[in-house]
Structures are given as structure tokens and as C-alpha cells.
Symmetry: C2
Subunit: 371 residues, 2 copies
């Protein structure tokens, strides 16, 4: 029986039960050793496993790493920011950053051709990442399809250390496409520890809880693999931002998210149409107040648009008391969004020549499989 | 239900039924288009699938290829010669030869470390192959663990084109180690047709019938893969030489085979101890004659040691008539073996510097995963 399917659309209703079952600790247990961070403070990053290994390395001055991957299957939206924010937090703490484009996985599990994946990865992820401040030259950035001979061989050698039973119990299937993808991911997660990258070192992987199966099996492989030593990777877990209409935020439903490439007017229209926690009449709202837990606009503010805790608390108070109407909340969101997007779109323009130069340099030494 | 297990020790009692079931044609249907060859004449190579594609290319003057792999899991013995003989026949017909050391498979399915596989491959296969006349410079020789980024990526992309059901129906399992190995083999079999090797071309894979599952699924992958075109690979099938004690010839039982590195005296002792078709007494033998089908010494002569058909027929007549005793048959075998092995051991000595120089040259540009 599997409860979490990294290739599916499972919503985790009860984080607590899942955490207990799979040995995930509350982030609170190590929060005082982390830099002050909005996502941690607000409980958006809620869990961790073995994060002490990374923090201890930091304290000792030993090398440590943060690793994350991206699936090039759609646009980059606000729901994707939490991973990048964490990656940058760890990078600022001194971690080496490894960033992988899971184009083999996109091909094998979602039918996305490599060249399409590459274009998506550049347009939707790289440009946005660099616009958001990612320094590519300080990052081990790679496509799975260009990961190199040794990386790919290693992913195949790992196959000896996972049984079909374990695989099916973890993922609910042993379909060849998923198995080949998962083995590739184990090598991705362990890449910062590969001999050519300096050998074993504590590594943290910020993931949504749906990706935890990959982390768990990678930990098994790391401890079983005989040829070189690995430290079992640590992980952090963040809540999923819900879609603008409530329910799941989904790359296949543009009304559920605001993309970082949406125009300002498009983004504003989406806010106008978003589900709120407002009451059916102004009178009722003034009397009972807005329901913050059901307000997708407030969620967007809390996850990303309002950096100052005091300001967020004030908005919350006013909204819950009924002093602030849903329309007023939406105005705040639209204002913030406009500032954010205008600045981001400018930054994207500046990022483009950097990204193009970076990719051109890679191509000269790179690979190109059947594209 | 699977009838043939390429990782197991299945004996195929009834070749006819298997041929019919899996669409294998008798070699006789194309024998007149092949060069005169001992293995074909004697029915040791008994079957083929799609070999016309290769023969047509030869007739048209178009490129075609022969591909074979070796599993570095033990010594090289007379049972392994049939594949090499066929590979050389096709090479002499004008085929490009691709030769793969299945070290990833040895690791993932037989627990053999890469460095041990490499040593075995060099000592037991490469040296013997070159001593037997293989020209490495005219061969695309490679280790799976050094197959290169694009080859390994392709093997992963192939995962999309095989279902778990097909895999389990063909192999009886979807164990990760076997799945990762099999996907690697599909890329191996299709390697002569890879874009970097000139693109689609008819390719023949000489195999024992136990390896046919790999050929069948490779054909499926070849026809389903969308990114580049492949000609479905053709194949030839040879009978397995039985062990010296009767039953299966097995790399794990040295009394069942004569290795090409056995000393002359060791080889002779094995012949002395071999199972024959001789009768219990000389009188009975003179009267009824030897049973050729149960004589492992005659099998060795017929497979490899006697090249002249007339001579083999004469020996057979004399043995079946009772004029020749088992001891006399053994004397013939020992004499031939001594000539063969002395010459081969000399050739091995001469092969060593060639092989070492060849490997050294590769190493300078090569890879080395965790060894």
C-alpha cells in the first residue's frame, strides 16, 4: 500500500499522520539553528528529516549541499517558489547548490519530448530562477539527459539495491518508465556526494511531501550501495499552496495559479476571480468577518507577497474582524502582484542574455541525445 | 508466463515449439545466401529471425551490422565460441561489428563488481577474442559502464515503450536490477543504429535462444521509439553445446567445460573424464556401436575441433559402427585439443601487448565509475 504518489495528484489531508508514519520531524525542532526565514516562521516549511546532519556540517565548517530538481512540464508559478526560496536559504548558509532538470523523467512518465522539456526548462525555469537571483555560475545545473556517463551508470548500479517489492510498496507500481525515472532521481539526489563532486557530504533536499518516496528510497540506496560512501540525504517539507479557486493548484489549469510570466492584467483578473473567505453579503461580512482559512488571496499574500509579519498580522486581524472586505484584500494583492511582476519581468529581460550565454558555453562541451 | 529466462539456466528441450511460438525461422530458409559456414552446415546455428534484412543490405551494398555482448561472469570456454564464430562470419561478409561487455548487467544481476568484471572481460574475453583473430580496431568495443552519456540516456528513454506487464510476461519479473539491465541491453542491441553510428541499418544479433527475450523486446522498442528510426534487429540462434558430463555446460562447474585458458594436460584430463556414448563392454560396443547423441566428446569435435565435414562423417561412421571405441574417439579429441590449445596459448601471448595498448589508449579518453 502506498499513500504518496510522486507522479500523481494526491492531496495530503493529514500531514501529521504522514509525518509520524515516515519519520518526519517538525521543523520547529531545528528552527533556532536556521537563519530567520519567512517560510519557516509561517509554518509553510513544516517538517524535516535529518536536517541536523546539514546544520552540524555548517557549524563545523564542513562542506554540505542542497539539491533540488524541477520537472519541466508546465509554466513556473507561485506554487513553485517555496522550493527555490529554501534552496537559496541553504545556499546563503554556505551549501553547494545542485539543480537538476528532470527531462528524462518528463519524457518517461509524462510523454514530454526532450527538446520541448529543454525549451520549457529554459523559458519557464532558468529565466525565472536567474531573474529571482539564482547565480548559475555558483550552481551545478544540469539536465538529466546530459548528466554524464558516470552519473547515469551509477543510477543503473543503484538498481541492485532496491527490490521490486520495495518499489511497488513505495510507488504502487514497477512500471519501467517510473522505475527508470526513480533510479535516475536517486543518482540526482546523491550527485553532490559523487566522487567527482568531492565525495560524501550532508545534503538537504527541499521537497513537497509527495516527493518523499524518492527521498526515502534514496536513503535506502545511499546506505546499501557498496562502491562508495554516501551520507543519507536530509529533507525539508513545505505545504502546498492551494489553487486560486480552492483545491489543488495545477499546472494544467491556468485559473488555479499565477505564473511568473503572466501579464499584470492577466494576474489581476485571476485575483478578481479567486475564491475568498468573504461572506455572502457585506452586512454578514462586517458582522462575522472573513474566513481566512478559505481565502486563497490571503494564502498568496501569506506564502509570498507580504514579507513583513506585522503587516500580515494586521491584514489578518482586519479581515477576520470584518473591517476589511474581500474586495479590499484583493486590491492589496493586486497592488503587490503588480509591483512583484513588473520588477520580475524586468529582471527576466536582464536574465535572458545571461542564460543564453551560459547555455551556449555548455553546448560547446555538451551532449545532445536525439534532438 | 515466461518460457525463457535470460538470467536463468533454462534448458530448451524443444527448439521446434519455441521457434514456432516466437516466430523464429529455420536457418535453412536463408542458408544459400550465407557464406559456407561449419556451424550453419552442421545445424548448430539452427534458426533466424529477419535475417533477410541483413542479407538484402549486403546484396545492395548498404551498411549492415552485427552486434554481440558478453557477460563477464566466468571463464571463456568452448561453449562461447559459437557466438564469436558467427560474429566473425558476418564481419567477413562486410558487417560492422559491435562488441559490448555487459558489466552493468553483471553488477546488477550477478553481484559482480565493475573492476572484477573488467579484469574478467580483459583476461577471459578480450585476450581470447584477439587470439582468435578479432581485430579490435575494426570493432566498436565498449563496456556498458563506459557506453557514454547518449547511449545511457537512450536506454532510459526506452523505458517509456515497455509496460510492466510486457516485462513481467517476457522475463517473469520486473525486479529493478533486471529491468535496468534489460533497458541497457536494448540500447546495446540498437547501438549500431544510433545517430552517432550512422543511423538505421539492418543489424543481426547472434544469440543463444535464452537471450531471445531481449531481442524480442528490443524489436518492440525499436518499432515504438519516436525520436529516431530503427530497423528491428534480426537474430540467429545456435544450439548450446552440452557439458562434458552431459547436461548443461556451466561456467560454475569447471568439469563441464574446457576453457580456452585450460592447460593442455588439464584439458586432456577433462576429456578422459567426459561422458561418452560408449557401451559397457568392448564386446557390446563392437556389436551395437557407440551412441553418438550421448557422446560429449563427439559433440566437442562436431562443434569446433573438426573442421572437415568428410572427416567428421568418417569418425561418426566408425564410431556408430563399433569399429571405433570411446577411448579412440577421446584420443582424437585430445590430439586436436592439444594442437588447438597450444596454438591458442601462443596467440594469447601475442595478443596481450595489443590488448594492453588498446586499453591504455581508451583509458586516456575514457571513464571510470567508482572503481
Amino acid at each position: 500500500m502506498t499513500d504518496i504518489d510522486p507522479w500523481g495528484d494526491v492531496e495530503i489531508a493529514d500531514y501529521g499522520r504522514t509525518m509520524e508514519r515516515f519519520g518526519i520531524e517538525p521543523i520547529a525542532s531545528v528552527a533556532d539553528r536556521l537563519p530567520d526565514n519567512r517560510l519557516v516562521r509561517r509554518g509553510i516549511v513544516f517538517g524535516q528529516r535529518d536536517l541536523e546532519t546539514v546544520l552540524d556540517a555548517r557549524d563545523r565548517g564542513d562542506p554540505f549541499a542542497v539539491m533540488t530538481g524541477l520537472m519541466p512540464s508546465g509554466v513556473f508559478h507561485f506554487g513553485h517558489l517555496a522550493v527555490l526560496d529554501q534552496a537559496r536559504m541553504f545556499q546563503e548558509m554556505g551549501a553547494e547548490l545542485t539543480l537538476c532538470v528532470a527531462d528524462i523523467e518528463a519524457y518517461a512518465t509524462r510523454d514530454i519530448p526532450l527538446d520541448e522539456a529543454r525549451e520549457l526548462a529554459v523559458e519557464e525555469y532558468l529565466l525565472n530562477y536567474v531573474a529571482l537571483g539564482l547565480d548559475l555560475d555558483a550552481t551545478d545545473f544540469y539536465f538529466q539527459s546530459e548528466a554524464g556517463n558516470d552519473h547515469l551508470v551509477r543510477s543503473k548500479l543503484f538498481s541492485r539495491y532496491v527490490t521490486q517489492n520495495e518499489f511497488e510498496a513505495t510507488y504502487g507500481t514497477a512500471a519501467p518508465g517510473k522505475l527508470a525515472s526513480a533510479l535516475t532521481q536517486y543518482a540526482d539526489i546523491l550527485r553532490p556526494q559523487a566522487p567527482e563532486n568531492g565525495g560524501p557530504k550532508p545534503t538537504v533536499v527541499p521537497v513537497g511531501i509527495d516527493q518523499d518516496p524518492h527521498v526515502r528510497l534514496t536513503r535506502d540506496v545511499a546506505s546499501r550501495y557498496r562502491e562508495t560512501a554516501y551520507v543519507k540525504p536530509a529533507s525539508t517539507y513545505h505545504r502546498f499552496m492551494r489553487g486560486l479557486q480552492g483545491g489543488k493548484m495545477s499546472s494544467s489549469d491556468p485559473t488555479s495559479y499565477i505564473a511568473l510570466t503572466d501579464s499584470v492584467s492577466e494576474a489581476k483578473r485571476k485575483i478578481d476571480a479567486a475564491k475568498t473567505g468573504g461572506r455572502t453579503s457585506v452586512e454578514e461580512h462586517r458582522e462575522k468577518g472573513g474566513v481566512i482559512e478559505e481565502d486563497m488571496v490571503f494564502e498568496l499574500l501569506a506564502f509570498h507577497l507580504i514579507r513583513d509579519d506585522d503587516e500580515l498580522a494586521r491584514i489578518r486581524r482586519e479581515y477576520e474582524s470584518g473591517a476589511m472586505l474581500s474586495g479590499e484584500l484583493k486590491e492589496i494583492a493586486k497592488e503587490r502582484l503588480e509591483v512583484f511582476l513588473r520588477e520580475h519581468h524586468e529582471n527576466r529581460k536582464e536574465a535572458r542574455p545571461k542564460v543564453e550565454a551560459y547555455l551556449e558555453e555548455r553546448t560547446e562541451t555538451g551532449f545532445g541525445v536525439d534532438t
